[in-house]
Symmetry: C2
Amino acid sequence: MATLLKAAPISQRIVKDLTYECTQLKEKGLTPHLQVILVGEHPPSVIYTRNKKKFMENMGATCDIHKLPEDISEKDFLEILKGHGSNPKNNGLFVQLPLPSHLSHIDVGQLVPPEKDVDGFHAHNLYSLLSGDKGDNSLLPCTPKGVITMLQEHNVTLEGKKVAIIGRSLIVGKPLTLLMTNHNATVTLCHSRTENLKEVCQNADIIVAAIGKARFLDNSFLNKDKNQILIDVGINHDESGKLCGDIDQASVEDHCALLTPVPGGVGKMTILSLGENLIQATKIQMENSHV
Amino acid sequence: MATLLKAAPISQRIVKDLTYECTQLKEKGLTPHLQVILVGEHPPSVIYTRNKKKFMENMGATCDIHKLPEDISEKDFLEILKGHGSNPKNNGLFVQLPLPSHLSHIDVGQLVPPEKDVDGFHAHNLYSLLSGDKGDNSLLPCTPKGVITMLQEHNVTLEGKKVAIIGRSLIVGKPLTLLMTNHNATVTLCHSRTENLKEVCQNADIIVAAIGKARFLDNSFLNKDKNQILIDVGINHDESGKLCGDIDQASVEDHCALLTPVPGGVGKMTILSLGENLIQATKIQMENSHV
């Protein structure tokens, strides 16, 4: 039976490290501050932002959620976003998505200064990934970063590994392809138009499912070696409303070596990455101000 | 024996189209203008910039090469670059590489305004690729764009194809991975740390060699079907000084369906892409000025 790659023990270690880093920064007179913008009262967004605030405060940073009315005008929204971007008090800044439909055309990630972009989606941060960075000099998108952290914690080296990533999104599939390539893995980026997807997966050492289809990947995608590592990025609800991933855990667990559960796997890593990005953003700004 | 995918016949068609587009723009009072900056007298760079100027003038655009002394200070260089960037006369702008060593740390692609970035390496243009753009709304890196044009001209569809790209550079491998993915191919990005490279290549419908090793890829990388398409992005010199690609043409030509020669293949496409980007840049600026 596969070992479950759970986030909880990793979380303990990382929260401890982040708390230490916060203390160090505070001793230099800098308390990392995350500014969140929340438009409207979309219930999951309210919960997500509350959890992020709690996490940041728990590690010793501060966090403020600026709540804006659902019907705020585009002009006012952009002005407030710009104001937060230029406020030196804010070390990290992001807008909780989704935005109401009248604002949804705005690519908010591009309007946050790159050095405060704790979500890691500003073009300048993604450019670092294209340039070969592993995250040492940039702010990485949180979910791809979390996947790498998880593998590293379990001593899985990426060097020379064959990886099949299913799903070509801007949020996960594409940046993770670049990041894993920078870690010397050989990545095949698969998607809805990929032919012989099962064959590609059977050939891989590591499979990442990031397509958003409940329990899509079952054991028919695996080879017989029982050595494969399965990373489940999906967060879906099945017909009965139960939370589940893109991987059918019951089907694969006797056919692979390592498997991330849903819930309690990659999803939980994302908030840790956000915390790491806030610390890194604060350090980048500190260095910039000394130049 | 493989059909050779030569650039010359494609070039004729594209130059005709570009000339027509230039005429159209001129009728609207706009002659596309390319500004080139050349530092020093590196002989290949002198030839490249001269060829680019000739090409632009041949299609009806104008082109100016601003020659700067080899020992220009960083401050003066950056000021001149900035001046050209903000000059509304310049529709396209690029700095010929390589720069002298005292300037080589400058990432010039990021200092050109994205809407004038005919080389396609500004973070904002690469971000479009990550967002799924096929080049309709952005300026694409010239070599990847040229590869796609070549395949389209020979009615090779990318949808559902398996592609092995060898070489993970910022110039070719990574942007071409994204671009081909946006065209619905399934891409495996290979590099020096890839294990079983021959197996990956044998499994591919299309192989792109972009590693910079003279005649690296021979028929041992191919399968027996003789249906594979080989794209050679390499421009090398062999021991005797002869120009050659990354693919050993003599070795593979009886074992594949289509093959781009070196010289006369992908290399020639790059300047066509530059011409297309200049036209597109001019149009983008025209639209922006009307907003």
